[in-house]
Amino acid sequence: MSSYKQASEDASGWQPRIVAFLCNWCSYAGADLAGVSRFEYPTNVRIIRVPCSGRVDPMFVLKSFERGADMVLVSGCHPGDCHYTTGNYHARRKLLALREMMSFLGIDPRRFKMSWVSAAEGSKWSAVIRQITDEARSLGPFESFPTFTLQEVKK
């Protein structure tokens, strides 16, 4: 039962913090299904339910990083399946632009993830979380964002 947790425990006790914005109609239901189906996945993910992935403003993502998230995930309905028809298409353009901007500034774009998880994909949800938690673990603490200080401006 706890095999996954034991395997992933860091020697220093550090655990990655992952903030996940899930659309109400697909990914949140998919995560719910994963729970109901008793699929195991790491507990590092903090879920925030939003009406649609299109609701996620890039500022949400930046704020999460500022407040100490090691990784941010935005998950919505598969293209073509959006409850509001086109919300996930807008999310895709807007949030990939954020990721490109992060990359251009030298902020590790691997810290920002997107996924499409439908309400029927409980197993995909648990696989996605396992995958990104492992990646967050290997990337280590995301220190750039929270550790900006005034000292850096002074020099």
């Binding site: 890039p58 990939l96 500034l105 030298g106 499409w116």
Partner: protein, 286 residues
């Protein structure tokens, strides 16, 4: 005092004509100034049209005045535009900030501004402004332009490793004093209430430390994605000499490559963030 060029002379005639006929209540143009940049001029009487000039010191983007309420109250506006300024006006038209019926566009055929010529002039494609009510000046004899160099500056940054890019931008954005000159001069930053002034919640930290500076510049960059016309005004006015133009250029390159979109080329276009396609690229989505 320099001699009046034929371009300036025909510009003055066009302005006086617009004011005399009542087509416009005010002409926004350029006038002589002590500094290197020509000053913006608001001409409201035909005889004052003699103040107007056009030469290589006229590099400011006057489109910034069109969205300002105090300017709109002056009445119907005529504005002197270079091809590059017209791109910004096209975005304002597309976003219904101004109506074409309320505008008289006096286009100038421009052969490059700035001493030495601005970087954007070296790959200018809009020397002949299209869609203006009147166009003054001879067809320009353009110096050779190279649109391929449009993204050369940011490609040099992209070639750096991630750590090098981070070091570069930490140094650059660390200089920001949050004066918001970039926002004030931008013809497309016309929100009545900017996100940086919203405090419940406080999206962007307002004190000038790197964390707030990064958030501010990312927010500004994303708000201008698919809108920025690379006029370079933000970079020109930045008192800390931060290469802000490359942030706008980066996003311009992105929408160009991914969505085949170039902002401001016409007033009928649909901005990338208001449009979508099922076939949009989605690298890295799980």
């Amino acid at each position: 005092m320099t001699t009046v060029t034929s371009l300036t002379r025909s510009l003055r005639e066009a302005a006086a004509q617009a004011l005399t006929s009542g087509e416009a209540a005010v002409v926004i143009g350029y006038e002589l100034n002590d500094g290197e940049a020509a000053a913006p001029a608001f001409v409201r009487a035909p005889e004052d049209a003699e103040r107007l000039i056009f030469d290589e010191s006229c590099f400011g983007n006057l489109a910034v005045y069109l969205a300002k309420e105090e300017v709109r109250r002056l009445g119907k506006l005529a504005i002197v535009v270079k091809g590059c300024d017209l791109r910004a006006i096209n975005v304002l038209l597309r976003e219904n900030v101004v109506s074409r019926d309320d505008l008289l566009l006096i286009g100038v055929r421009c052969s490059g501004v700035g001493r030495p010529a601005l970087r954007k002039c070296s790959f200018c494609e809009v020397r002949d402004p299209e869609g203006c009510d009147t166009v003054v000046g001879d067809p320009p004899e353009p110096p050779p332009t190279d649109p391929g160099k449009r993204y050369a500056e940011i490609e040099a940054i992209e070639e750096l490793s991630m750590e090098e890019r981070w070091a570069y931008w930490q140094k650059q954005l660390g200089k920001c004093i949050r004066c918001y000159a970039c926002r004030q001069v931008c013809p497309l930053c016309y929100c009545k209430r900017c996100i940086v002034e919203k405090s419940t919640p406080q999206w962007v930290e307002t004190s000038p430390h790197l964390r707030g500076n990064i958030a501010w510049n990312i927010a500004r960059g994303l708000h201008l994605t698919g809108r920025c016309v690379s006029c370079g005004e933000c970079e020109r006015v930045c008192p800390m000499k931060i290469p802000l133009g490359s942030l706008g250029d980066k996003m311009a390159k992105l929408v160009d490559e991914w969505y085949g979109f170039r902002s401001g080329m016409s007033a009928d276009e649909k901005a990338p963030f208001t449009a979508w396609s099922p076939d949009d690229p989605e690298p890295g989505i799980l």
